[in-house]
Amino acid sequence: MSLAHYLTLAIALFTIGLIGVVLRRNLLVAFMSIELMLNGVNLSFIAFSRYLGDMQGQMAAFFIVILAAAEAAVGLAIIVLLFRRQGSVQSNLFQNLKDRIEV
């Protein structure tokens, strides 16, 4: 397995995650997609780190895991807050804030 294999997988994970965030209407799935993106990033860091023989990349991966958890905690707390009010986690229900264009 060469570096290219790992990087291809990393890009695939990242892209699937990015598409998921943009397209999925369910907020929980959107957050899962963000985690997928970050896992792609982790894989990319670790593959480069192994290839370069430099431990900094693996260190970076640990920090990203921690921050992803922190971000998920805050994000889920906000989703719970919205679920209690609306009874749903579909993102198209939350459109009170937008430009009102009056011609």
Binding site: L18, V21, V41, A47, I64, I78
Partner: protein, 501 residues
């Protein structure tokens, strides 16, 4: 440049240590049942801590030579110190505004702790010298901002704003860290100054396409933080939904920190600095100045044109702050020490006039309970200090347009001067045309205040001298510094010093 180890670096981190201790102190004070009943203890402790923070930061700026600290994680130079003072001051004003806002009546201590936490993250972001540190500091600012935007749990708008912010923020930072991983992979290091060394010693441009892709992804993350087009979509929604003092804070503090890291990255990693001539030259095969110029033009044009049709005060100020990010971006596109000074100068001007405009907005929202621009109608005729507040708002609006004799004019003058000196005439012309567009919507507020009749007869109900006094001193500063700006120029010239090898 010497790289200090952790023990030797600690003295450079003294201001942040003070801020961290203040944060803990507020938590401990709240454990005492008697003290926790007082609503004033936490904001006052935070305020004292912030004043101490600014004083120590200014003292260290004189005392300690610039250095790379914490094994290369942070760069402690005059530039970092500038943003220490800047973030401290913006947090101080945000705390003051929060204490006088009706939206935030009865907030618990975690609100003040969140503000202090964001403030702790901002100078770290400004001084980050390592790709991982950039990511960590940016997340420290962002994650706490998500919480503080959604702080009003009962408000539907506030929660929705927090949701949009967290989705945009997490995606943007994910894209950024992927870009950083590519830069790490090609250059083989996370250290910003080492990356610069690699790029300079790599004249044939090995992996230039990968580097360029990584760089653009990184800029997406920075662009999100400063709300540059096309990463600005979150800003109006978040600014509208968040409590008004939080909006004021977000539009100044974290945005300035975003600019700090954008400038540090472009000026140290992507440019060669000649200390004798003082000229920054972009790397031949990785020149992003053109890209930045396009982003700047897009940002100010979109910001200005969308601000025209806004009817909500906070949304209107959000688009105005996007437009101002555009003006400041033209200097990032220029890559010269004059432009660097121009941005820092403009940030100070923007800080004063934007905070002033938000303070007036808070007064109006407190009195009328309406966030619509129509609430400004007949402000000058309202009882309870309407004439003074309308006059101050006019000063802030004139300054935001960039007309003399205000600080905003001098700031814009410095920015456009640096662009003209770099022979980017088209950019300067577009910038000035944009200022003309902005004249329309800022003056609409002035027209509302002076030429329209109020829709109700509510009094502004300003009590005491403290709140009007602070707003008035912001207005006074806008005018006085618009005539006599010498000390600020000296301060900015001393601050525009970045460590580069």
């Amino acid at each position: 440049m010497q790289v200090l180890d952790n023990a030797a670096s600690f003295q450079y981190f003294l201001p942040e240590a003070i801020l961290g201790l203040t944060l803990l102190l507020i938590l401990i004070l709240d454990l005492n049942k008697e003290l926790s009943k007082s609503r004033l203890i936490a904001p006052w402790t935070a305020g004292v801590g912030l004043v101490l923070y600014i004083v120590v930061a200014l003292a260290l700026r004189v005392q300690l030579p610039e250095a790379i600290t914490f094994h290369g994680m942070m760069a402690n130079d005059a530039f970092t110190d500038f943003f220490r003072v800047f973030s401290g001051a913006s947090a101080l004003l945000a705390i003051f505004l929060s204490m006088h806002s009706k939206e935030l009546e009865g907030v618990k201590i975690e609100y003040w702790i969140l503000i202090l936490g964001i403030t702790l993250g901002m100078p770290v972001l400004a001084g980050a010298n390592n790709l991982l540190m950039i990511y960590l500091a940016m997340e420290m600012v962002s994650i706490l901002s998500y919480i503080i935007v959604g702080y009003l749990k009962k408000s539907r708008k506030s929660s929705e704003a927090a949701l949009k912010y967290v989705l945009y923020g997490a995606t943007a930072s994910g894209i950024m860290i992927y870009g950083l991983s590519i830069i790490f992979g090609v250059s083989g290091t996370l250290d910003v100054l080492e990356i610069q060394k690699f790029l300079v010693n790599n004249p044939v441009g090995t992996g230039r396409i990968a580097l360029f892709v990584g760089l653009v992804m990184t800029l997406a993350g920075f662009g999100y933080k400063i709300s540059a087009v096309p990463f600005h979509m979150w800003a109006p929604d978040v600014y509208q939904g968040a409590p008004t003092p939080v909006t004021a804070f977000l539009s100044v503090g974290p945005k300035a920190a975003g600019f700090a890291i954008l400038l540090r990255f472009t000026y140290t990693a992507l440019a060669q600095f000649n200390p004798e001539t003082g000229i920054f030259t972009p790397l031949k095969y990785l020149d992003i100045t053109g890209l930045m110029a396009v982003l700047a033009v897009l940002t100010m044009t979109v910001g200005n044109f969308l601000a025209i049709q806004q009817n909500n005060t906070k949304r209107f100020l959000a688009y105005s702050s996007i437009a101002h990010a555009g003006y400041m971006l033209i200097a990032a596109a220029t890559l010269s020490s004059l432009a660097l000074q121009g941005v820092l100068f403009y940030l100070i001007a923007y800080f004063i006039m934007n905070m002033g405009a938000f303070a007036v907005a808070i007064i109006v929202i407190n009195a009328t309970g309406s966030e619509e621009l129509t609430a400004f109608k007949g402000l000058a005729k309202r009882s309870g200090g309407g004439a003074l507040i309308a006059l101050l708002m006019m000063v802030f609006m004139v300054s935001l347009v960039g007309l003399p004799p205000t600080f905003g004019f001098v700031g814009k003058f410095y920015l456009f001067m640096s662009v003209i000196q770099a022979k980017l005439y088209w950019l300067a012309v577009i910038g000035m045309l944009n200022s003309v567009v902005s004249l329309y919507y800022y003056m609409r507020v002035v027209k509302h205040m002076y030429f329209d009749e109020p829709e109700d007869d509510k009094s502004l109900g300003l009590k005491g001298f403290v709140f009007p006094g602070v707003v008035a001193s912001l207005g006074l500063a806008t005018v006085v510094l618009g005539v006599y700006w010498g000390p600020i120029v000296t301060f900015v010239q001393e601050s525009a010093q970045l460590i580069s090898k």
